[in-house]
Symmetry: C2
Subunit: 771 residues, 2 copies
């Protein structure tokens, strides 16, 4: 066989698979074959792997800190660890070159499979394993492991709960205590910083008769030893539960909880558990899948992107959100960034509004942390974190990058100056309300978040000395290569939008229930004077205007005075490939080169403010000056490119975005910092480009607008969406848009296309032919 | 003899001299033995030296730029160049180790002398030379050169105008054209950038009979060759004039001017020229000298400091000021910094108000440049330059330091953010008016400068969003290690002072001549509305207050949040001895370590605002955190130390300041930039510590206050001062202050001491005994 590794799409576009063994790809495959169920992530490593191969069972939301190192989420002990020795030689492709190796991820069922063939001392061994993290019971994981031996050998099988844990800044778990009751292994431990309990319970059951031999248990590991002769086939099933203090919900003993859930699960057995899991994923795909006619690469990449989003999503909890590297590891401290609101929320809004609601409510639940951060900086209101951890605590350090030349910590202002994050959060609240029509959220914290963000912005603002305008000074926009700038266009437009949206929310709420709103306003200390004050702020906030001559908006005050070098020129100046281009003295800081879409993101988000010509002008100006140093960048340029008649560019950047985790060739280091992992914001961006860009779906508060502009590579596109509690599926080809309203819909969907509005009745199909 | 070089004070404390030869000290001696007359500087190099030894005849105020290099003042060709060869071997201590070498500067007469003995081929040669830049005729220089030979030798003497010029960023002069008429050598040239003419005319006259030999002239160089036998003594006198477009004053042909002045001068001859020069210096010393009883080192250093100030001062022109490295070279672009106003002006105000007037009027003449700079940054009013060149043009580049690690230009904000410079200028105008009583200056541009500075500050300011305060954001104070800060205490206090002083000036002027003021105000567009607006600005300007608990004022918003490491800790982190501690990512930027006195300078300048306890608290807090990376720092801490009862510290820092150019051990590099030369701000600082600090002289608008606090090293101190056009000399010992009012004074001087006020009548002596 060819041992050089090849990635190939599965026969049915539902599979991501590799054939062959390449030791260099172990880390990449850990990301590529990642399993997730919102509650846990399980990296795509092999069962015999350990910490050196970055085995990681991430528990999002359970954070820990050791000493002065970064706070990050905890990895659980690996309850699926299993390894085989032949004549004392442990089978591991890193030590023994395999005859064959295949690894795959079944996207439809979120199932990981591996198959590896070894020859040791003339004995042929085939290992095949299948595992999943249950989408049905989110604390549960299960595995089937089959060993086939041909030849005469002394065989050792070891399986249990591996206490060796890969941590970036650990060790986070301590006080390990293993016990065994009735075939269940239980490993208890607790986190270093706060002593939060982590319990892992595991059962392993042979599905076939085990040859006579010895069984020993050592701590949390079992071992069988026996002699094989001829052809032996053995099947092992493992079921495990992982519980932490996040699952306590009033339960005092999570060990008991882990064991109890495990007992129920193992009684059901692997097949039933997997069936229940598959059932959940089938429902998810029914809602979220997109089919593309004519582009197999794009199809596979887009489906993979959607898989990543569904795996990471907290379907089960409104106390979690999606970290910047999803559940693929501890990179970026497992923290919640604005990535979620601006790049992932649109997908969930259109597919699973209940997840969108969880994501928004996560920000409501963490308002206190945002208020505390505002206080810390001498402001009122809510300053949402750059890197949110539990309670809204900002885990971002002031020195977040290491200088590659001096090896000194570099002062960055990610934490201090990115006030747009509060805007992104408030934008998300309002967007959720507008698309879902769910005003309940406003009453239960949504309005409070919007108000506190508005208060924060006013508190941050200054008036010009002639008192004509309000300005927002000393901020950092999405383009982090230019820190501490004045009047960042993205930020200012966003702030005005958010303050106005808050005032609009107040008006709607006061109108719908004056008495209740009066109570709420009073509880929040919100009165007419403050309303007028915020209205005045929004009305007089300085907005960098498109230049009347060429339509270009200056990214921030003085941007046009910076050196206008080309990206190639800039790259030609780089001395160290990992040097950070921003910070105090990075190469980009004194030039017009930006890290990622900034002003152009504003023209996308505030679509109705800018003319097509202005959008095009800004795109044309900023795109060549963008380094795309963030995975959040390409999709934005792609989205706007679909609007301004640049389908080739849009398609190229769509593919770049959609394949980022498939190819695994994104930036791996900033300074000396490892930043690898999966990219859920890019995954969300890929979805946005397909549905909001190419299909041109626009979920307005009062109607659904279509403006398809499929790339030449695509013949058609089918997808579904939710809007105001109504469901529909859409198919677009080069002649017609067909909207199929779900028969259970309670009302028609007003569909706008090409200047006309038509209503799609429940259960009906609306055809909107292209002229 | 001992060839290791030793610096020794002359027998009478009026001489700075070295005995012995040390080639390592050539650059230092170029500064140490510097001659100056305000119109020219002549570095303390030997007559046979050339560009490699940094011969420099600086023309302050005549700037030139070559290509993209820094603009800097021009060095003239060296008209005193003279060298001797014995048997074809040129005598130069760098090539032929001398038997003896002495070099000295007579401070009393501003005369440079050298004496060097060589032995070549058994022939003994003694070279002795004396030279001066005329303080009487500022375009004139003259030299006596004596050659004594014992032995038999072929002798060559070469003298003329050396066209080889030392430039940091040259060559600035081009198109050299030499001519000879009636024994006068004339070398014409012009500057590269603007073609400004530079003419040097020279005559050399043998005072003794020259042995028979040949005389040849080649371009601007003469050569004599002859044979010597036995004992030969030859004396040569040289007189030269240097004229540039700065001297044109309507004259179209500066060559003619140079020759005409030279003809008159050479007719008079060296002795008369030197006598006239000495006469001027005698008058200067009569006014400016300070005698210290009991401290010979301090005496010599202080006198040397005063010598430096007098040499650099533009007695002859109100279109020049004093560059940061005086007339010692092109370092810091020969530009005018705030050093002049805050650190040198006090000396001239108290000794030569006519020079103080020239310095202030220089800023009036360069108002247009300051207005243009304000415009450039989108403001109104006047933004005075960090590095002022002709017309008030700011020569400061945006990338002013080179990073020692990456060798990349480093973005600094010296030019953009040091708004305090406009404050320093306005402060100087008002201080001049208050100390001299010269209100004419206000009418002839002084008020306009103050108004335009106030306008600039208001234009720079913002209001807080609640409209309670004005703030000054994004500025750099004197501590350049912390750029782009908000509400720098020094800046804010200074700005309030300047705006209030401007309003006070307006009030006084309107009162004294309402009609004329109304005309002026109208011409300047100043009306009651603007007055009220500026009054409101001054009244509501946020001033960082002393902490009520400990009296400490925060240097700027957020300073107390910086890492409070010790200076030693910081220094321990330095990797490269020349690395810049400020800029985008310098070591000091994220710590409390400051470059130089900043807040403490505010407590000195605005003496009456802060209590002694507050001054002490700030001194105690900031001094240990000051790196003293600027020569402007030690004197400020010394000054305040005299006030708060720390005489030992004050004396130590006085000596450090006063000896900076004597020892020549100040910082020589920032990044890769050479910053050596003389330090007139420190020279002025030394004077301030002696007179304003130790003697406690305070020239208030309505009285002269004394508060002596002599250091224990001093038994007494004598000095003179001018105030409101009145003259007095003062002697202080441990028992009594005696004030001798000049008999020509037109009115008594009100002298305040120890809470009582007494008037010192013209010609009388007022004794103020210590209780």
């Amino acid at each position: 066989m060819n041992t050089s590794e090849e990635r190939s799409a599965g026969a049915d576009d539902w599979t991501v698979a590799v054939n062959g063994w390449d030791p260099e790809k172990v880390t990449h495959h850990g990301n590529l074959f990642l399993l997730g169920n919102g509650c846990m992530g399980y990296r795509g490593t092999l069962e015999e792997f350990g910490p050196d191969e970055k085995v990681g069972i991430l528990i999002p939301g359970l954070y820990d800190r050791v000493g002065d190192a970064w706070r990050e989420p905890v990895n659980a002990p690996n309850a699926l660890f299993t390894r085989i020795a032949i004549n004392g030689k442990w089978l591991n492709p890193l030590d023994i070159k395999p005859d064959a190796h295949q690894q795959s991820l079944d996207l439809r069922t979120a199932t990981h499979r591996r198959l590896t063939r070894f020859t040791v001392d003339g004995v042929r061994v085939l290992l095949s394993a299948e595992r999943f993290l249950s989408a049905d019971k989110v604390n549960l994981m299960a595995m089937q492991f089959v060993i086939e031996i041909q030849g005469q050998a002394e065989v050792t099988v070891e399986t249990g709960i591996d206490q060796r844990i890969w941590d970036l800044n650990g060790p986070h778990l301590e006080g390990f205590s293993a016990s065994q009751v009735d075939g269940t292994l239980l490993l208890e431990s607790s986190t270093h910083e706060k002593g939060e309990p982590v319990a892992v319970a595991e059962r392993a059951l042979w599905q076939s008769k085990v040859p006579v031999g010895s069984e020993t248990v050592d701590g949390s590991m079992r071992r069988w030893q026996f002699s094989a002769d001829g052809s032996v086939s053995l099947a092992l099933e493992k079921v495990a539960t992982v519980h932490t203090s996040l699952d306590q919900h009033g339960v005092t003993d999570i060990d008991e909880l882990a064991c109890r859930e495990l007992a129920v699960a193992s009684e059901a057995g692997y097949k039933k558990l997997h069936a229940a899991h598959r059932e959940v994923w089938e429902q998810r795909w029914n809602r979220a899948d997109i089919t593309i006619d004519g582009d197999r690469e794009g199809q596979n990449a887009l489906r993979y992107s959607i898989y990543q989003l569904l795996s990471a999503a907290p379907f089960h909890s409104e106390h979690l959100s999606i970290p910047a590297r999803a559940l693929s590891g501890q990179v970026y401290k497992g923290a919640i960034f604005w990535d979620t609101e601006i790049f992932m929320l649109p997908f969930f809004l259109a597919t699973f509004p209940e997840v969108a609601r969880n994501l928004v409510r996560y920000r409501i639940h963490t308002l206190d942390g945002a208020k505390e951060k505002a206080r810390e900086y001498g402001h009122v209101g809510a300053f949402y974190p750059w890197e949110g951890q539990e309670g809204g605590f900002d885990a971002c350090t002031l020195f977040n990058v290491t200088d590659v030349f001096t090896h000194r910590p570099m002062r960055t202002y990610f934490r201090d100056k990115q006030i747009h994050i509060s805007g992104d959060v408030a934008w998300a609240v309002w967007r959720y309300v507008q698309v879902t029509g769910d005003h309940v959220l406003l009453w239960s914290g949504g309005f409070e978040v919007m108000l506190e963000c508005a208060r924060f912005f006013l508190s941050w603002a200054y008036r010009t000395s002639d008192d004509k305008h309000f300005v927002l000074l000393d901020v950092t926009g999405p383009d982090e290569y230019h820190e501490r700038v004045n009047n960042n266009a993205y930020t200012n437009y966003l702030v005005r939008h958010c303050v106005r949206a808050m005032l609009e929310a107040a008006r709607i709420m006061a109108e719908s229930d004056p008495e209740k709103f009066s109570e709420l306003a009073s509880a929040l200390g919100f009165n007419d004077a403050e309303r007028d004050c915020l209205q005045d702020f929004a009305d007089r906030l300085h907005l960098p205007q498109p230049n009347p001559r060429n339509g270009i908006i200056e990214q921030f005050d003085g941007y046009f005075q910076l050196e206008d070098c080309s990206l190639d020129q800039l790259k030609g100046r780089i001395i160290d490939p990992n040097e950070y281009l921003g910070g105090g003295s990075g190469l980009a800081t004194t030039t017009c080169i930006l890290k990622q879409a900034d002003t152009v993101l504003a023209t996308f988000l505030f679509d109705d403010i800018f003319s097509p010509a202005q959008k095009e002008a800004n795109w044309n100006f900023y795109e060549p000056r963008t380094e795309h140093g963030s995975s959040l960048s390409a999709c934005v340029y792609s989205l706007v490119a679909t609007e301004i008649g640049k389908p080739d560019f849009a398609y190229e950047y769509f593919l770049k975005t959609a394949t980022i985790d498939l190819h695994g060739n994104s930036k791996q280091h900033v300074g000396t910092l490892y930043i690898g992992g999966t990219h859920p914001a890019a995954n969300g961006g890929a979805w946005m480009v397909a549905v909001l860009g190419f299909a041109g779906l626009n979920l307005l508060p009062d109607q659904v607008r279509f403006r398809p502009r499929l790339p030449s590579q695509w013949n058609g596109l089918c997808f579904s969406f939710c809007w105001q509690g109504l469901l529909a599926s859409v198919s677009i080809d080069n002649d017609v848009i067909e909207v199929h309203a779900d028969p259970t819909n309670s009302s028609p969907i007003p569909c706008a296309f090409d200047g006309t509005l038509q209503h799609c009745q429940p259960g009906q199909v609306l055809s909107l032919p292209f002229v």
